[in-house]
Symmetry: C2
Subunit: 272 residues, 2 copies
């Protein structure tokens, strides 16, 4: 176990955990601030997990800034930062994986095979090492949060999972470490993701219940912006992530869009 | 978490865990006695785990004796017994599994596809619930023990794994709940498993180093007993379970033999 967690638990403190891949931004800061409210010993991990990147994805160029990250963790009041090395996380003969049979068969799981197996496995390892009472994840990675909630329930982890609302730029773009990849031109265009989600929400609020109509409207809006390439635009059940035909109870719209070589994701819960 | 474990941990006690499928015999008793030496709060679980049985295997007829098991746990000094129900372990929407990519591709893993995924998953769940400091497993299930040691290392479980030597009947037959399936005639014949292992060990002690020669001798001996059907007889590296051509350092001989409808396994470490 992470020695700092062990000492904190023995001292009767409530350990709260924010796992990250580093290059921290205001979205991560919000998770840490939420964490400070949920416990009294905040552990942040910084680990760019190779097993959740596929071949040809951006593992090599994923942005890193460890010195800046550590300063930000300190400013947020983190009591400890866990920064494992990839070769100690996946040593010789490594062969154990945690996987889910249904939730990854949607959305990002389809375009990123093996991604959620990598996520579930590394989060299991981090949970065992950090041994938190509570862990905070961003709702921006909606499918990831669904996978982790399901895994925690299925594997009987004794850890409370908190989802925190997405933090956005002034124009609505969801904060993401990958936004740093965007050219100034693409950065301006990227606002279309949030416009599509907000417009969908307005349509539902105005009475539209047909999922295909909403998705079609959102796809058209996105494709009006030159240089966008849609991976998916989906209206799903928030628990199972299965496609909805009609908006009955809560629904979530999720989208993944490429701008140049940068793939962005975002989502919004739509309440009828 | 299992409330009894939680209270014991808070009280500073060392929780030791013996997971079983019930129908307890002297082999399990030996694990419990070992456990009592390794910690000061012994938890035994009794759970016939459906996900480690394949189609057509003996899940339905697996022997059960809960009242007798509880009495035996008490006599062995167990502080708590955990007896979950299958429908609470695998509820609606259950979909998370722990699997290993290499170790199950040998021996029992070949004739029982999915078996070790079921074992790794249920042991993960039991570890999370019981939250032990140390867990004791029998060496009779040699491949299972190898899978669990590897899983504990890979997933960063903070649990010490203890392997306990196989307990045998007077004639050498390894104690097993499945021995109760044997007819009196098959019970007599079953001694051939131990004879094959002991004979192999004598051959190695006498200088034989050729694995194929030892395996061939053991197969012939087993097949001399009418009604035996060999699933496998293998001489393997004790860590990777890969087949050995030569006995260099430590080797383990493992075998699975059917007598009528009863499949028995056994193993022995052979030291050159």
């Amino acid at each position: 176990m992470f020695a700092e967690s062990d000492a904190a638990r023995r001292a009767g403190r409530r350990v709260v955990f924010v796992p990250t891949m580093g290059f921290l931004h205001e979205g991560h800061l919000a998770l840490m601030h939420e964490g400070k409210k949920r416990g009294d010993f905040l552990v942040v991990s910084i680990f760019v997990n190779p097993t959740q990147f596929g071949p040809g994805e951006d593992l090599e160029k994923y942005p890193r800034n460890l010195a800046g990250d550590l300063a930000l963790c300190e400013s947020a009041g983190a009591e400890a930062v866990y920064t494992p090395r990839a070769d100690s996380m996946y040593g010789a003969g490594y062969q154990t994986y945690v996987s889910l049979s249904d939730l990854p068969n949607h959305l990002c799981g389809l375009s990123r095979p093996g991604h959620f197996r990598g996520v579930a496995t590394v989060v299991t390892k981090l949970f065992h090492t950090v041994a938190p009472h509570v862990a905070v994840f961003g709702q921006k990675d909606f499918q990831q949060l669904a996978v982790i909630r399901r895994m925690v329930k299925d594997l009987d982890f004794f850890i409370e999972i908190v989802g925190h609302p997405t933090v956005r730029e002034a124009d609505g773009l969801a904060k993401s470490s990958r936004n740093s990849y965007l050219s100034p031109d693409d950065r301006e265009k990227a606002v279309v993701l949030h416009k599509a989600l907000s417009g969908a929400r307005e349509r539902v609020a105005a009475g539209e219940r047909n999922a295909a109509a909403i998705v079609s409207w959102a796809r058209d809006l996105i494709l009006e912006t030159p240089g966008t390439e849609i991976d998916y635009v989906s209206l799903c059940d928030p628990d199972s992530l299965e496609d909805l035909a009609e908006i009955g109870e809560a629904a979530v719209m999720l989208l993944a869009v490429k701008l140049g070589t940068t793939r962005l994701i975002d989502n919004m819960v739509l309440l009828p």
